[in-house]
Symmetry: C2
Subunit: 352 residues, 2 copies
Amino acid sequence: MTLQIETPAVLVDLDIARRNVRAFQAYADKHGIRVRPHIKTHKLPQMAELQLEAGAIGITCQKVSEAEAMIDGSNRIKDVLITYNILGAEKLARLEKLNERVVLSVVADNTIVIDGLSARFAHTERPLTVLVECNTGADRCGVATPAEAADLARRVVDAPGLRFGGLMTYPPVGAAARVQSFMSEAKRLIEADGLEVPSITSGGTPSMMEAADAPIATEYRPGTYIYNDRSLVARGVARWDDCALTVLATVVSVSAKNRAIIDAGSKVLTSDLLGLAGYGHVLGRDDIRIDQLSEEHGRLVSDEAIDLVVGQQVRIVPNHACVVTNMVDAVHILEGGTPREKWAVAARGRVL
Amino acid sequence: MTLQIETPAVLVDLDIARRNVRAFQAYADKHGIRVRPHIKTHKLPQMAELQLEAGAIGITCQKVSEAEAMIDGSNRIKDVLITYNILGAEKLARLEKLNERVVLSVVADNTIVIDGLSARFAHTERPLTVLVECNTGADRCGVATPAEAADLARRVVDAPGLRFGGLMTYPPVGAAARVQSFMSEAKRLIEADGLEVPSITSGGTPSMMEAADAPIATEYRPGTYIYNDRSLVARGVARWDDCALTVLATVVSVSAKNRAIIDAGSKVLTSDLLGLAGYGHVLGRDDIRIDQLSEEHGRLVSDEAIDLVVGQQVRIVPNHACVVTNMVDAVHILEGGTPREKWAVAARGRVL
């Protein structure tokens, strides 16, 4: 079926997105886990509203400018966690404004960040809530030990203008046991210091259906689950039918028997591999590999005859949905399989 | 030195860009090669003007919407080649408008594209110039043999509304001999058919200083040469001092002795590897590897102590300059090493 959409284009099937959101919300509700979706996957206030309607208690953003775009885009977003170490006068000034508009919290994994936040918020009316980020194996941000987490919790409590909000982690896949042990010990130490731990928040779509295996966590932050992608199908946690985001492309050249070129390259699909071979899955064509991308061309190859003609459309499930969202100014929303409207990607490119 | 710029940010050193542009223009002038820079690297009308001032005869764009943005952004852009097979009613309608504004040419490597262009331009006043794209080893678009090129040249000449503009190729690195032999034979066949070959255009920054080794080509389309990047330094065709585009980032976390996290991830640096290990080069720190990117975090590791502090800025030469340009709404222009102004990236995200 040819869609009357100029290509390349990013399509989002709203029916599938709704179903994905409800499925995890049902799991979380059953296990008493609060859901705070990460908006990096969709960057759309409308999708955040859909998640809130389904039962989410708020949203997660990665950058201050993302939070601004989301809050500007929906007055139903009232609770935002920015899971980032925030530094610098400009960002702190913007953070202060956000803290007057919504229930806001941020994270910190070091004293420089805590002291910077405190210097800004010491003289404001509303304190800023700060969670301590813990490293449970991803080896990105986060304190390395429960003892360090307890030290930083005390530092936050003692810092003028700040309020201790609990513990945050972004664990690697399959690390529920590690989350459970790290967070339990950190909580014990913090409580032994006479403090409360209001929230313990974990995240990550690949392991979300094992969230209950770390019952110490009170909150979960799935991101990609709303759209799914090839990486999640490869992990066995989604099927092609669960993939809400696809890239619509047109074949522009068939210059060899087993090769075709499409008008979507790394400027739409991105070069993210996430450990996979190739740059996406052509729906309905298991024989095809997208073996090479340049910026505006994607190369499709098959061991058999490629059997595509110039002008023909293909739909591709990208390796990583979140990064594709960031490449386009707008996405096409489908309902009942039919394009309904275009939504501007409000938080696209918000890296500050 | 700390720059008063909110991070992450893309910086472009105008002095270096000017020097890079002049260096290739001097080479091309010496060898009688016309220069038609590909704007994909900078996506800035101002940089195109700099290239035209240096002696370029026009510009190259990859997509219709890129050409629109560039022409809208500068009335000094009067000659545009779109090196793409263009299909679809919307794009053809926009192409017709562009053809009324500038000297326009496009490419085709198959009869479906040629027939589509002809159907649109048959009834317009100004014919559209079409070059035949030839595959000289990149195995992306392009006809496979000189004989096919000659067949398509004849098809263009016979198509109402079209004018044959010559031959175009985007060769792989180090393919000057192949370009020379393919294009010579194609030209011979086309001329034997009683047609002229007005232009033979080749491209690619890595091999640009061997452009004269394929003297059959009358025109060259370098792109990345204006900025350079880590991939070109790795190939030995540029030094770090020749890299005009850098990413300014701030260290946000130092949670282990040999690891630091910066506020630039794949949303700025992109996941393009171009055959390299790691995601960029930290200037002045040969010991550091950027071994992992998530969307908003970059991980820096060293075998030695990382010796960076939270809040410190680093400057990174990305693997691939062109794709980084596409990630941001604006770049910071430096002159004399000092930030002067911000330029909106006019042709960012133009994939249609």
